[in-house]
Structures are given as C-alpha cells and as structure tokens.
Subunit: 194 residues, 2 copies
DNA sequence: GTCTATACCTGGATAGAC
DNA sequence: GTCTATCCAGGTATAGAC
C-alpha cells in the first residue's frame, strides 16, 4: 500500500487510458509507454492487470467522494449540491462527448466481461446514489429519496450516453437545463407525490 | 451477399454474443462453438471479424426497422407508437438488466475502440431517433420534434444503464411509468413550450 | 462448403541481471 | 526499483486437403 511515485503514475495513466480506451483494450504496453517505464517494471508494482483495475477504481471512488463531500463541506445547501451534481455534465462536457461517462462505461464493460470488479464499479455508482439520496432526504424527502436519486442518476447516464453518440453541444446543455428545471419541481416535496 | 444457411447462423450467433459479451471479448472460437462449425470455415463466409460486425449491425438495423415500421403498419397512432417504444424496456427487461441496451452498449464499446463501425452503431441510434421524431411530428410537434426524440432516447438509455447496474425489478417499471406519464404531457403540443 | 493444420502476432506474466 | 529477455496462452487469419 506504499504510495510510491511510480505506482501513482501508473494508476494515473491507467485511470485515463481505461476511461479513454476501455479496460480490455488498454494493454500494459500502452500504460508503460505513457508512464515511460518498461513493461517488466510493471510487475514490481502490480502483479496482475486486475490489481491495477482495483487501484483505479479505488482512486476514482476516493476522487469522487472528495468532490461530493467537498460541496457539502463548502456549506452548499442540498439543492445547490444537487445542482452541482447536474453541472458535472457541463463541466466535463468535452470528455463526456468523447468518451462517455467514466462510471457508466466502466460498469458496462466490466459487466459484459463478467469481471470480478463489476462489484467495484457498482460501488462507484453506489457512492453517487447514496450521496444523492442523502441530499434529497436533507431536502425533506422521505421514503422516495432513493427513487429520486435513481431517477437523477438515470437521467444523467442517459444524457451522457447520447452526448457520446451525438457530440452536439446543444443537446447536453438542453438536458442539463431540463434536469435543473426538474430539480425545481422536487425542491418542494409537497409538489411531489410519494 | 448470398444468404447461405451457415452464414445466417453465424450472424445470429455473433449478434447474440456481441450483445452478451461485447464485440472485442467475443472470439471466433466462441461463435464457431455456438454455430457448431470449425474456425477455419469461418473465413469462407467472412474474411475478417469486422465483416461479421458489419453484418450484425445490418441485421440489427433491419430487425429494429421492421419492428418500428410494423407498429406503424398495424395502424397504431403516433402516441401508441411512442408507448410501444417505451414498452421495449418492459418487454426486454430481463435482457436489459443482464446486458444493458444492445444499441447503447455496442456504441459505447466501438466508440472506445475507435472502431470504423462506430458509424454503423450510430446509424442504429439514428434509426430510432428519426422514427421517434416522425412520431412527434405526426403528433403535431414541429421544430421541437427532434429534441423530444433525443430526450426520450436519452431517458431510455439512462434507464437501461442503471437497470443493468442495479438489477432491480421495481426501478425499470418506475422509469417506464414516468416516461409514459411524460408522454401524456407531450401528447398535447399546446402544453409544451417550443 | 467444410474441415485440419498451422503461421503469426499481441498481450499478460515470469526470471533474473543490474 | 528498473531493466531485458523470454515464455506462454489465446486470437486472427491463411493454406490446402477433402
């Protein structure tokens, strides 16, 4: 678990390449080339490719957790937090159009491969799901908070998928606007049937 | 282009395996095993793996086109047609929970591979997009018909993605209900701002 | 049209020198 | 900690017999 500099570089490079090219399609040679080390050196830091995947997923969970909790720590209201979540689609628009959602596409790939780390990828989804649910609960929603979280997660996944298929600036902006408008309608729980 | 029985069997098997395991992760040996032929025999029918992919995409386009136009030919109203589209999520729920959306996951994979047939996968999306747009136009929508088509496509993609991540019966049913309710709100163009 | 045999390459993984 | 050399499995593709 010692975080050597080379190890960190490997995880950083793998994180990017797994996102841009997918896990299966990224070879050790690819990662080694980016990091600037030999393929053999790899195995000093990671015994198998799966170990790198585990490290990448851990890294992503840590990053996203820090981002989400950072908003809370900044004192944002539940509603502002949800708006910030939706804004991810705007902030990362260029990457999403090029490569899709890092969470969704990783899960999709590992699911098809029947990879043991499918559970790890689901944990990434869980992180968002639970955080969103907490925000809806803080907003006054009770039993339906998890359903609202799933609904918002689904919409953002769908927007990311289609933005990837149709790299059209206007589409993603429109989806974000609609999600923000939807957020207004659920901001007052009285307007939403449970 | 002669549609020999063996060739058809290969396309059928590849279609299923590309969906269940993904394109890259499906080997010739896998397909050959399902069809019950030798690997060598393969190359009599298809010179490369990409040629099989082209045939699979053609097959999927043909199938989906027949399904969509079949609804129109049955005399369904634009609104009934859109409801039938939404119902795909219910009819194919089991497969979607297990493998995701055949259109979305194929596009996502080919996009990451930078595969030439990414365009073919997009054509599959286009088929749905244009058909949906036509239904919204027939319903009285004008300039916003395409945006509505994209919106519905995005929601169904998102629902499929999350249903794959969380194989929960209730979630997909809820998403379908919400899309049907949304359909009610757009059935009368007067209620929708352009 | 279908088979077996095989060439060839890529990519994951190991051994051992430095 | 990093390197080179090498092994081995699996996957695409070809040749040629039947």
């Amino acid at each position: 678990m010692a975080a050597s500099a080379t190890r960190e570089k490997i995880v950083t490079a793998a994180d990017r390449l797994f996102y841009e090219r997918g896990f299966e399609y990224t070879s050790f040679a690819d990662v080694a080339a980016v990091v600037g080390i030999s393929r053999g050196n790899f195995y000093y830091h990671f015994r198998t490719k799966d170990e790198i995947l585990v490290a990448v997923i851990e890294r992503r969970i840590k990053d996203r957790h820090a981002m989400l909790e950072g908003w809370v720590a900044q004192g944002k209201s539940p509603r502002e937090c949800l708006a910030s979540f939706i804004s991810i689609l705007t902030v990362n628009a260029a990457k999403i159009r090029a490569y899709g959602c890092p969470v969704g596409t990783l899960f999709s790939e590992l699911s098809k491969l029947n990879h043991p780390q499918e559970a790890g990828a689901r944990a990434l989804f869980d992180l968002f799901r639970h955080w969103l649910r907490q925000r809806f609960e803080d907003m006054g929603h009770g039993a339906e908070a998890d359903a609202l979280a799933m609904q918002l997660l689904a919409r953002s996944q769908g927007a990311a998928s289609l933005a990837n298929a149709y790299p059209d600036d206007a589409f993603l902006a429109r989806e974000v606007d609609q999600m923000m408008a939807w957020l207004d309608t659920v901001a007052d729980p009285a307007t939403i049937p449970s």
